[in-house]
């Protein structure tokens, strides 16, 4: 009953690849943003604007985000056409395209736990480490990272899990090219459309259990490092 078709396996592979790449990229991108939001010295107005911008994917319908990315990254869009003029491909209906979309779409899920962890950490530990001769990178790896590891684990897990659940953005920007942009959520939709409920059920149940386990882990960690609140 749990036999999966090659298409199913391909979708699982694309989905996992997308979730892993997205998570890695988000950790790199979200960390400085979260640090700046938590501890930056920028004027309050600018900070609020960035905070709102980061949170935007939480409230926008994914189709809106997907639509604008399609316009931007597609062959007629400013980014897509520039890439084409350099002899490269535009990014609509490509894996790179949905990767960019995923990163933007899951940004708040990575930024917010990190921001919370950094705010709890405060400036003091880095000031002390600085006085002890540690430069910026040194301070990050020897003080900030170990002291906020709960925040990093939560951010990574949420970014990963949220990417698994993506649908609207990918549908708009990526379509359903097997092995390239056809992720699980899209394939489930396709199976259901084709009245293949058994296949849809197999994948849905698998995703449901997986998502539950992931969230269970997050909340367990959250209780252990009760510095991070969601």
């Amino acid at each position: 009953m749990f036999e999966l078709s090659p298409t199913d396996w391909m979708a699982i592979e694309v989905t996992l690849k997308l979730a892993i790449y997205t998570t890695l990229m988000l950790l790199v991108i979200a960390t400085p943003i979260a640090w700046w939001l938590a501890n930056g010295r920028a004027p309050g107005g600018l900070r609020t604007a960035v905070q709102a911008l980061v949170a935007l994917p939480l409230v926008l319908p994914p189709t809106v985000l997907g639509f604008y990315l399609l316009v931007l990254l597609g062959p007629a869009g400013p980014v897509g056409s520039t890439l084409e003029s350099w002899g490269l491909n535009h990014l609509a209906f490509t894996f790179q395209g949905i990767l960019i979309a995923s990163v933007i779409y899951s940004l708040p899920f990575a930024v917010q736990p990190l921001q919370q962890a950094f705010a709890n950490l405060g400036r003091r530990p880095t000031e002390i480490a600085g006085s002890l001769g540690a430069g910026r990178l040194d301070r990050f790896f020897t003080v900030i990272l170990p002291m906020s590891r709960g925040g990093f684990i939560v951010a990574a897990t949420l970014a990963f899990a949220h990417t698994l659940g993506e649908f609207g953005v990918i549908l708009m920007l990526g379509g359903a090219i097997p092995g390239e942009t056809q992720v699980l959520s899209i394939l489930i939709y396709d199976h259901a459309e084709a009245m293949d409920f058994a296949s849809a059920h197999r994948l849905s149940l698998g995703l449901l259990i997986f998502a539950f386990v992931v969230l269970f882990v997050v909340y367990a960690i959250n209780r252990r490092f009760d510095t991070v609140r969601l």
Partner: protein, 368 residues
Amino acid sequence: MSQSVSNGLRIQARLERSGFALDVDTAIPLEGVTALFGRSGCGKTTLLRIIAGLEHPPGAEVHFGNTVWQSGRAFVPLHRRRVGLVFQESTLLPHLSVRSNLLYGYKRTPEPLRRLHLAEVADLLGITELLERRADQLSGGQRQRVALGRALLISPDLLLLDEPLNALDTQTKREIMPFLARLSDKTGIPTLLVTHAPDEVERLAHRVAFMHDGQIERLEPLRDALARADSPLFRDEGAVSVLQGTLGEVDAHGLQTFGPPEARYRVPSTPGVSNGAGRPARLRIDARDVSIALSPPQDVSILNIVPVTIEALDEAPGHHGPARVLATCRQDDGQTLMAELTRLSTERLDLQPGTRAHALVKSVAFLD
């Protein structure tokens, strides 16, 4: 105060925040302990942060001896200033052991610059037994000693202590004071101590910078700060005198002499404290424990009766109104002794500047 001003720590800074303005132009000698004394909100901590490089107000100038720390566009970041920092709350890195905390800065200090090493610093601060503990298993006092040790182990050019005793209870504070007092003598590292506690200044500082409303009103040796009736150190807890002298032998009554023959005290020797004869020590005397008599009284239980000359009579600090007078007296060895009297008494005895009298000292306390 032997170093010339150009070798000191020079700071020139203006900073305006909502409801607060800092305007400082000063030079602090790089020798011994300088207390930065003032009420909370007067800008002490902000000034300390500018010196550390944690704040960089535009246009500020910070020079450490001949080294530029901040001037125009030049700015040396904190991790290159070689400044030891200790704050009031615990700042130990909780994910590291006491040993790793202590060595965090040491490992990052270039080898030729390491003058202090783990064993001697741990010994100086009495933390040798704690080395293998986790940072979060320490008491408040232990944590502050480890924080001090960690700062010392970068062999800093300057030690900045921001109310390091403030979060501790009286008992713990009393435990740590001797360690702090030894620090600058033993290591020779110039120290800036931010505090609002007069007893810390009296005990630890060689000179005081009085801060008020974002400005340094006066920078003077501790001795001078304790010799004037209007000293801000006396404002809340009344006037005190700190006498410096040498300890003598312990007699059959368990009493030990202190000071030269012309201003000799006899004080109970404290067992346990290293109180060898010939050791320099300091006595703290509350002005309220000092009375004045015109002739030396004979039948009196008070042991310490010291001849003095009245130098000045001012209204006593605090909130007593005009009923109490602070008499600034000069002992025959030149040191100042403060006595707090009622105005009635000064009138009865007809005390005037220049009057010869005897100071009756009811109780004294050793500072070190």
